[in-house]
């Protein structure tokens, strides 16, 4: 089993009255809420936390992309990944991912990801989300009708650019280019592993299964909500004739570890409540632009409760809007978070991993307004006392084909030490 340390990089200074006084955490969030000096400190703490996770042995660090969003402050995940490429040694760098419709031309993704793979020595995981309506249609004014089509064309162009024998022309529907020549090729051949963080659409599952891409479901609401989605994915995998290798899948889980459950609840209560209350204060004005969902999805939503529940994954905010749990007790009761002593956490994660059949587990150990020392404590506890209990899961039976294959140690180049350290 692999463990990835996932950061959202939330703005930690949203006021207590945020949900009463302000309409939205995303898209048109009040600019007055952002303090550059505070953010400078936050970003540096966040990067410290990620580097610490890499140092204590997490298999990977993860970044993602959001725009005009106070719960996820990485409009450029590649910038974050670039610093990780230099400041981590062996951890994989999971960019989950570049929202392809937002890069013009899409070969910029091919170029930047190639750079990340080159600088890191072959440690990149290339993630390609379609992108939420908030990010794509509202923050970036993309036509909701075209986002998915643009995404698929961008994907095709990027994959070709990485593997072409020579410069090529691309007379696409959205991108028209001559002499495409992404000259810097990734270290990993034919390309870095491709991970698709998706919602609950049948089309995405099938696409991933056919192409042997990893499918990951990034839920903020724990594995009870994730069951239907993952079951749907595995059914498609079987239909398409691929093996149920748990390393074909990824899942995101909030975790809080302490010596005891009581301690964990105490320690992680405030950051958890900050996240679920303030961070997920998403304005419904931005969640459903016409044309973003296919008619098939709309039909499924209208026609069936079960399908609607499954398609809640299309709008992951449906969970919080529907369930309205806003205290730690509520989060625990509804299974959003895995909180407890190392043994309790390990047992719950084992059960989840087996039930969902997921071999690549992304854990959120920093969330909400968690301070660095608490985040590092959570990270260290997980690395030392939880991960070892689970590492061997699936490893005897399955191979992880979705993991980076970096250069051998002897071939690697590492950053030179700072002069001060040398003295």
């Amino acid at each position: 089993m692999k463990f990835l340390w996932f950061h959202l990089m939330p703005y930690m200074g949203l006021p207590e009255n945020f949900t009463e006084k302000y309409r939205s955490v995303w898209v048109d969030i009040d600019r007055g809420l952002f303090d550059p000096v505070e953010a400078h400190r936050m970003y540096n703490d966040f990067l410290d936390e990620m580097e610490f996770a890499a140092e204590v042995g997490f298999d990977a660090v993860c970044v993602n992309e959001h725009h005009a969003n106070a719960y996820g402050m990485m409009p450029s995940p590649n910038i974050m990944a670039a610093t990780m490429a230099r400041r981590t040694k062996d951890a994989a760098i999971c960019v989950l991912g570049n929202s392809l419709a937002l890069y013009n031309p899409p070969i910029r993704v091919a170029e930047e990801m190639a750079l990340l793979d080159l600088i890191s020595g072959g440690r990149l995981i290339a993630g390609f989300p379609v992108g939420s309506p908030m990010d794509t249609c509202y923050a970036y004014s993309q036509n909701p009708n075209m986002v998915r089509d643009r995404y698929y064309e961008a994907h095709d162009l990027i994959m070709k650019a990485w593997q072409a024998d020579g410069p090529f022309d691309w007379n696409g529907r959205f991108n028209k280019m001559r002499n495409v020549n992404v000259w810097q090729r990734p270290v990993q051949e034919p390309h870095p592993p491709v991970w698709i963080p998706g919602g609950g659409s049948v089309e995405t599952w099938e696409w991933c299964a056919r192409r042997d891409y990893l499918y990951s479901y990034l839920s903020y609401f724990g594995y009870k909500m994730g069951r239907k989605t993952m079951a749907g994915y595995w059914e498609k995998v079987k239909e398409v004739g691929k093996d149920p290798n748990p390393f074909r899948a990824g899942f995101l889980q909030f975790v809080g570890v302490a010596e005891t459950r009581e301690e964990a609840i105490k320690l992680y209560r405030e950051p958890a409540e900050y996240f679920y209350n303030r961070c997920l204060h998403v304005d419904p004005r931005f969640t459903g632009p016409p044309g973003y969902l296919s008619e098939t999805s709309i039909r499924a939503n209208l026609g069936s409760q079960v399908a609607a529940a499954a398609n809640a994954a299309q709008d992951r905010y449906a969970g919080v809007l529907a369930t309205a749990a806003n205290t730690m007790e509520g989060f625990l009761e509804k299974g959003y978070m895995v909180i407890g002593s190392p043994d309790e956490v390990a047992a719950q994660l084992r059960e989840m991993a087996v039930e969902l059949n997921v071999g690549n587990l992304m854990v959120l150990l920093h969330y909400g307004n968690m301070k660095k020392d608490v985040a590092n404590y959570n990270t260290q506890m997980f690395a030392e006392k939880v991960a070892p209990q689970l590492r061997g899961l699936f490893e005897d039976k399955w191979e992880n084909h979705w993991w980076p294959k970096p250069l051998a140690a002897a071939e690697r180049a590492y950053p030179q030490p700072f002069l001060e350290a040398a003295e």
Binding site: Y138, N145, P289, P290, G291, R299
Partner: protein, 268 residues
Amino acid sequence: MSTPSERTVSVNGHACRVLEKGSGPVVGYLAGLVGLPAWTPFLDELARDHRVIAPSLPGFPGATGHEDLDHLIDWVAATLDLIEAAGLAGEDLIGASLGGCLAAEVAALSPRSVGRLVLLAPLGLYDDAAPVPHLWAKKSGELNQELCEAQDVLQPMLAAPEGADPVEWKIELSRAAAAGARLLWPMCDLGLEKRLHRVAAPTLILWGDRDRILDPRVYPGRLAQGIRGPVRQAVLPGAGHLLDLDQPVAAAAAVREFLADATTRQAA
């Protein structure tokens, strides 16, 4: 009201419904943001002494095919196809709201496809002094509330008709929203102003004084300024953006007066 007749024409291989009623000189009608889910009192007024022909644009109630249309030019070409297939080539044309945007483009780019032009608060322009609101950054149902004053007319129009499958009806309405977004997103300038000088057709511009989408103090004048042909303008009191829904009698009277006036008839 007696019901209009219904036929189907093909645009890009997709079926588009054409509703028709009345006898007299032909006049075409391209509907606005919600399309034409049902025949309206305004069209009935016109049908008293005109043959009113209302084809549905791709994606709007009665028609599919919007997914083939990526750029404005695709929409204009489809509108030309629709006009020709519906028997409206060279005839007087009314365009409301979104339909008005395309009617104006057609008049600009293919002047012989249109006789005289009636524009009812057409979309497609953008003025920094009175920005078009973001039509789809609203809570569910909010946009429809803002489209016109006569909610008692609009809401029943949007309700599933007797015997219709409620799921399919909802799909038709969400499809219309998707089609509108496909053409208009993100509601900025579509470039129409650059081409208005090509509109030589005698034109009637009507606006509602309560239009909450396109400011009646800014847009009618701007539109009139760009058009080369002879222009008449009027602002109807008590009408919102879908002014023909709000003031069907006054709007129809203004249109009929314009169309009856021999001096506005385009030279053959």
